[in-house]
């Protein structure tokens, strides 16, 4: 079971509280998690990655195990701690402001 933490605005948009738990088939990549997330919550389509190109939106970041994996390719395979559910996959709105 993969644990996904959404930023506040996407939790309200998808009408979820707390974490989202997803069954993701192996290999568990960034793309596979986002595919599963959008399949569960279609209203999130286009908000994390663009329609069509599926490129990550510029001000969205992905964190796992205290590492920023935003710049990794979509095929990046996530570490065992995420696969086991020990650590969540965090989707984060980039910092803005002064």
């Amino acid at each position: 079971m993969i644990r996904v933490v959404l930023p506040y605005h996407l939790r309200t948009l998808a009408r979820v509280e707390g974490e989202v738990q997803l069954d993701v088939t192996s290999p568990v990549t960034v793309r596979a998690i986002l595919d599963a997330l959008e399949a569960r919550h279609p209203t999130l389509c286009g908000t994390i990655r663009d329609h069509g190109t599926l490129k990550r939106r510029p001000f969205v970041r992905f964190f796992v195990c205290k590492e920023d994996v935003s710049l990794e390719p979509p095929e990046y395979q996530l570490p065992d701690a995420v696969l086991s559910g020990a650590e969540p996959f965090l989707i984060v709105g980039a910092m803005a402001g002064g």
Binding site: L10, L13, H51, A94
Partner: protein
């Protein structure tokens, strides 16, 4: 007596203000979509409980919301079911994809730049079908839904009207005005910053620029250029769809022939710069503007917030000040932030970047703030209800 429902889009959420026909005691609902930029909300003229909203975020992009109960509850229009394994999700109510080859427009440095979708500035529901809505986008394009917002298609003929010469101003290249002709379903007027005004007579298939008579002495190398004028807003009275009123970057203009030719009606305004313009619900020659000092100083002249009314279709203007701050006021009123109701005594409304929404229940003679401390107001629409 009737009642009114005012739909307010702000920088940090949407608010719904309701009152009976006296328009003295208001109920405030919101913030809806707290923290999101709400560029515009507008109800269907056919089904007033059907309201569409443009919700945007620099982080998470564009979302379209729809209410079918007058703004009590909201949802994304696709209402997409969870897809079966192997199927792609169907969340497409926020999918705005330019039609065909993307094309280019003029960029700030004079080079050609590809179209990039940023957000929906304005939603205009059909006059006859609650499932049909037109959406004005930045970068400028017109989209249409025929299924209540579940999916959108670009009316790409618009961008054939010399798109390569369109160039964004400092505020972005947004399609901000959509006027539907109530007597001719094939005719639509739109306006774009900073490309100008355009008209279709075949339901959006082909378009042409309607900017003759506009002069942009300080903004364009050719002041009489066919496209490139920074039109801020156009308004029309439904009983006379060939008569259009325009607030341009500078100049208040009118056309008596559906945009074929424009004439300057700025007359005795203290400044002819501004953003909104609107028409009285029952008097087609009574129009309203809010003069702003200049393009460099986006606040009212002399720090006095004054709505100006012309009862002669322009040229002769009177200041409306009763109830409005007449000292130390340095707010702006944005292009989509003025509206009128159609009660017997016409109500006029506008919102400011300081978060006030003002109402006049007597055609502008006197004003009262409905709310004073909202986030910066982007848009104001009003629904007149039985």
């Amino acid at each position: 007596m009737g009642k009114v429902r005012v739909l307010v889009g702000t920088k940090k959420g949407a608010f719904i203000l309701t009152a009976d026909g006296k328009r003295q005691n208001w109920e405030v609902s919101g913030p809806h979509f707290a923290g999101w930029e709400m560029y515009h909300l507008k109800g269907s003229p056919v089904d007033p409980n059907r309201i569409y909203a443009s919700q945007t975020s620099g982080w998470f992009g564009q979302v379209i919301q729809r209410s079918d109960d007058g703004g009590k509850t909201w949802g994304t229009p696709d209402g997409a079911p969870v897809p079966a394994p192997g199927e792609m999700p169907q969340g497409e109510s926020n999918k705005f994809v330019y039609d065909g080859a993307v094309g280019t427009h003029k960029w700030y440095d004079g080079t050609q730049h590809p179209w990039e979708f940023k957000r929906i500035w304005h939603l205009e529901p059909s006059l006859t079908d609650p499932d049909i809505v037109y959406a004005g986008a930045e970068d400028a394009a017109l989209f249409k839904t025929t299924n209540g917002g579940k999916s959108w298609q670009e009316l790409s003929g618009l961008r054939s009207a010399k798109e390569h010469l369109w160039q964004p101003g400092a505020g972005g290249m947004g399609l901000h005005t959509i006027l539907l002709d109530p007597t001719n379903p094939n005719r639509i007027f739109i306006a774009i910053s900073a490309a100008g005004a355009f008209r279709t007579d075949d339901d959006g298939k082909t378009w042409r620029a309607i900017n003759r008579g506009l002069k942009s002495l300080y903004e364009l190398p050719d002041p009489d250029a066919e496209v490139g004028h920074c039109v801020h807003r156009i308004a029309m009275h439904p009983s006379r769809p060939n008569v259009l009123f325009m607030q341009k970057h500078w100049d208040v203009m009118r056309s008596d022939n559906a945009g074929e030719l424009w004439t300057d009606v700025s007359g005795n305004l203290p400044s002819d710069f501004g953003f909104p313009i609107d028409v009285h619900a029952h008097e087609p020659e009574t129009i309203y503007v809010v003069p702003i000092k200049s393009d460099s100083e986006h606040f009212p002249p002399e720090g006095k917030l004054r709505v100006y009314r012309s009862r002669t279709g322009g040229n002769e203007w009177e200041a409306l000040t009763r109830g409005l701050p007449q000292a130390n006021c340095y707010v702006n009123v944005l292009r989509d932030a003025m509206a009128v109701d159609s009660l017997e005594s016409c109500g006029v409304y506008f919102g400011t970047t300081g978060g006030q929404v003002y109402c006049s229940a007597d055609s502008g003679d006197s004003w009262n703030p409905i709310v004073r401390d909202l986030p910066a107001v982007y848009s104001v629409e009003v629904q007149t209800l039985p």
